[in-house]
Symmetry: C2
Subunit: 407 residues, 2 copies
């Protein structure tokens, strides 16, 4: 049994839905049982989201999900109708019908359990099962959505629950690259990538596969392959070997960040309550860094997803007022760049290389953190493309290497 | 408790959804518990239907419904978000969530049962309950739709199940008229109409209220009022008194018919199998009429909804081949006109008046049937407007009368 996922671009028009149906027919012809997960048609989720935000920037999450989830429901119906017109038995499933149960954190729900019975019955009866990505149902029977990119999560979670042979993520690029080929034309496609590297790349803005999908794939050891809907090829397969080399294997970036800087915080104050407030709000924050205290006050800065900027900034100002802090400034024109490699043991070399490379271009690094397999830095958004390009060259990612195969 | 239904034009844009929210707020301010049924935004069902028919004129009904039902789901979410932005607690319900169970005749399902518990709980908790019209769920958990105009049926069925004080059908006209005001400018709005008259008008193409909705209203004696979303006024209320006057009270028409004529049928052959085949296919047919046999053969003609023309024509040809009939001809350019009045006892006068009126305009009547409270006739589609206009004048429907109040 195979699980295939087709993203919004892949089902973005009637002609593209036909191309997907042809791919499905080809897989079927090999005698495979097939579960297909689809996203909303390209642009549809944005259109629905704009309507849902017409009266408030923070629409009620339950009703927001009711609106957003219609995009995928339209896709599953259309794909089934196209398959049926080609003589292929197909049956559609909304998240609820597919037994995908989530928690009740609307717009960013987590899958908690999958009742595989309805899908197994359909497969048994000879149907291609076409499942709406991105959505599920809460224990109260409310429609929930999993957040942007959630269709990847649906596909990998279904592959895990159904013990599928492989989860194939069809998208508009033909695999995972050393950097975004739109910015770095000399970027290479990787034929294999380790789970850990994929986890970091996806957590740091590489859009090819959603972070939570990678997490679930790792937890259940689901074989995942990323490949193109539009071009032939083997794509990039994710493996679970843990060879550790001291090498940068890819660069990811994110333009969706804002930086909040708090200064004049009394040195004895802990910022744990601030962090906990962000967790309680389910707000995405990252790269927390604190300067040592000078003259009895210290500074703190962190990144926040721009979507959450409004509530986080309000909460930060409230907290600063409570503790008698002095200044809160916001920069929503920053970008985050992350270099990923399995086992970056000699980080000092890498950080030196990064700083020298950017300095030679006259680009200043606003902040920088590192972990076992990644280094993240923040630059002015204006310099994002120039920085990614320079770093890709500095780490010679355009060349094949022993660690990662290139084609 | 009041049930209000808003059609597609009433929720056809963000601004119109706001106008609906204001109406709901006004009803709420009177302390009423409120269930609101909404249609898909104007044009949306057509758009979804076109997509669903992209690969076949007869898409698989189950998947057709999956696509069509998204239109209403978007509307309920948006209306709730708009109400919430005005501080009104609102909760949306898909057909399934509202406990609306139907049979499994997809695209034309009938409501079989309503579990009122979810809606009553929401009303009890102080919410305005916003329900997706036109849709339900089968006993197998499949999404079903009720056919065009099905939101009226949803509203009246909910009003019956919840024992609402009144079911208010908000639409783009301010009530029920003696004829379509677009064709007959001198048509009058009726302040009251009897159930029986409304039943006939709606079965004969008056689009103001769906036929099945009127049937259900009659069965459960639900007080129904038709009124305008856009203009003030008391609209038209439907009553259940059965005063019988010999009077034409309104004219309806339908442009969605085709006429099938079968000739050269051996006189001993019964056409009951033909009729039963149409019933089995759930195809809408009407005005069956048979001529007496001449020279051992007879003729038969009937109307069919153009939507069903393809399968009905195929079935009629099959049947004709089986029984050795001679000729099957199809005219898909006919219109049906129906004159309705409670207790048309002196039908001969009325039929004479009809035939004389149309003859004086040079319009030929292709067929004509009559019942206790209506007379239906078929004319060439080209003469539809002229015929309605002439008949409206001939029966003096522009004048107030003692039977029906005018405003």
């Amino acid at each position: 049994m195979i699980v295939q996922k087709y993203g919004g671009t892949s089902v973005g028009s009637m002609a593209r839905i036909e191309a997907v149906a042809n791919k499905i027919a080809a897989t079927r012809a090999q005698g495979q049982q097939l579960v297909v997960v689809v996203s909303a048609m390209a642009g549809e989720t944005d259109r629905l989201d704009r309507m849902a935000r017409h009266w408030s920037p923070t629409p009620h999450p339950r009703e927001h999900d009711v609106v957003l989830s219609t995009g995928e429901q339209t896709s599953i119906g259309l794909l089934c109708l196209c398959l049926q017109s080609r003589g292929i038995a197909a049956k559609s499933f909304t998240g609820a019908q597919a037994g995908i149960f989530t928690d009740d954190i609307h717009t960013r729900a987590h899958i908690q359990a999958i009742d595989t019975q309805p899908l197994l019955a359909a497969l048994e009866a000879g149907y291609v099962a076409v499942v709406a990505g991105f959505q599920g149902i809460t224990q109260h029977g409310d429609i929930s959505t999993l957040g942007r990119g959630g269709s990847d999560t649906t596909a990998v979670a279904l592959a895990a629950a159904l013990r599928a042979e492989e989860c194939q993520i069809f998208t508009d690029v033909d695999g995972v690259y050393t950097a975004d080929p739109n910015i770095v034309p000399e970027a290479r496609r990787l034929s294999e990538i380790s789970f850990e590297e994929m986890l970091e790349l996806s957590s740091e803005g590489a859009k090819v596969l959603q972070y939570r999908a990678v997490e679930i794939a790792g937890h259940y050891q689901v074989p995942v392959r990323v490949l193109s809907t539009f071009a032939p090829g083997e794509g990039t397969s994710m493996h679970f070997r843990t060879e550790r080399k001291n090498q940068v294997s890819g660069i990811a970036y994110s333009r969706t960040e804002a930086c909040i800087s708090l200064s004049g915080i009394p040195s004895h104050v802990s910022w744990l309550p601030l962090l906990k407030g962000c967790q309680a709000g389910q707000w995405e924050t990252d790269l927390w860094s604190q300067t040592p205290a000078v003259a009895g006050v210290k500074s703190l800065s962190f990144l926040v997803h721009r979507r959450d900027l409004h509530p986080v900034a309000a909460w930060a100002r409230t907290w600063m007022a409570q503790i008698g802090g002095q200044n809160c400034s916001i920069d929503d024109k920053v970008s985050k760049i992350t270099l990923v490699g399995l086992g970056l043991r000699s980080k000092a070399d890498i950080i030196t290389n990064i700083l020298e490379t950017l300095a030679s271009q006259g680009i200043s690094v606003q902040s920088l953190t590192s972990s076992e397999i990644k280094v993240s830095l923040v630059v002015d958004e204006e310099y994002l493309e120039e920085s990614v390009h320079a770093l890709h060259a500095a780490f010679e990612l355009q060349h094949a290497d022993t660690h990662l195969c290139s084609d």
